[in-house]
């Protein structure tokens, strides 16, 4: 397959899927922490999304970045528009903008990584080795 054909397939996939995530690995087996976090946020919003693993062929990433003018992975597209990478998705998720943009209810609980204010800190283990 030529690079142009790959780019056309990517453009088609972005056009045909309302919500599509280009990531390293798959939603079940993400191969990078940023992809994993992004998948986790989408899953917690309970929205269906298409996912494309960029790892099998380096040209997927190369052509995607050329098309989107965005250098890093993951990349989330909604209705053909680039929403952003993990940082932007995280910011929008935390502010509720992502849920609003996708037309779903905001999740009742904050993401697992965020500390809940007012909750006791997790028990620490004393370091006796200093």
């Amino acid at each position: 397959m030529s690079d142009n054909q790959i780019r056309d397939l990517i453009a088609e996939a972005i056009k045909e899927n309302d919500l599509i995530l280009f990531m390293k690995g798959t939603p079940d087996q993400p191969a990078c922490g940023f992809s994993m976090r992004t998948v986790g946020m989408l899953q917690s919003l309970d929205v269906p999304f298409a996912a494309v693993d960029v790892l099998p062929d380096p040209r997927i990433r190369q052509e995607l970045s050329a098309l989107s003018n965005w250098p890093t992975i993951p990349q989330l597209f909604h209705n053909g528009e680039l929403i952003g990478g993990c940082d932007i998705v995280t910011e929008m998720y935390e502010s509720g903008e992502l849920a609003a943009a996708l037309g779903v209810e905001a999740p009742p609980a904050p993401p697992a990584e965020t500390a809940v204010p007012g909750q006791p800190a997790p028990m620490g283990i004393e370091n006796r080795l200093r």
């Binding site: 003018n69 965005w70 250098p71 890093t72 680039l82 940082d87 932007i88 929008m92």
Partner: protein, 73 residues
Amino acid sequence: MPSADELKQRIEAAIPGAEAEVQSPDEVHFSARVRADAFAGLSRVQQHRLVMDIFDGELGGSIHALELKTEAP
């Protein structure tokens, strides 16, 4: 390897009026918070592009990851 301070200086030199805070535990993974007048009226994607374009070709290479948070004043 680039230092956090080098990234800060490059961001502030490239984007007029930008103030950047850059942290890095290992000079490979970076986390930056950038505030700039130039971001006014731009979408988050456009704001991030302005910063990432500075490190074109280095992202994924000497800069493994750049965690970014942008804000307009």
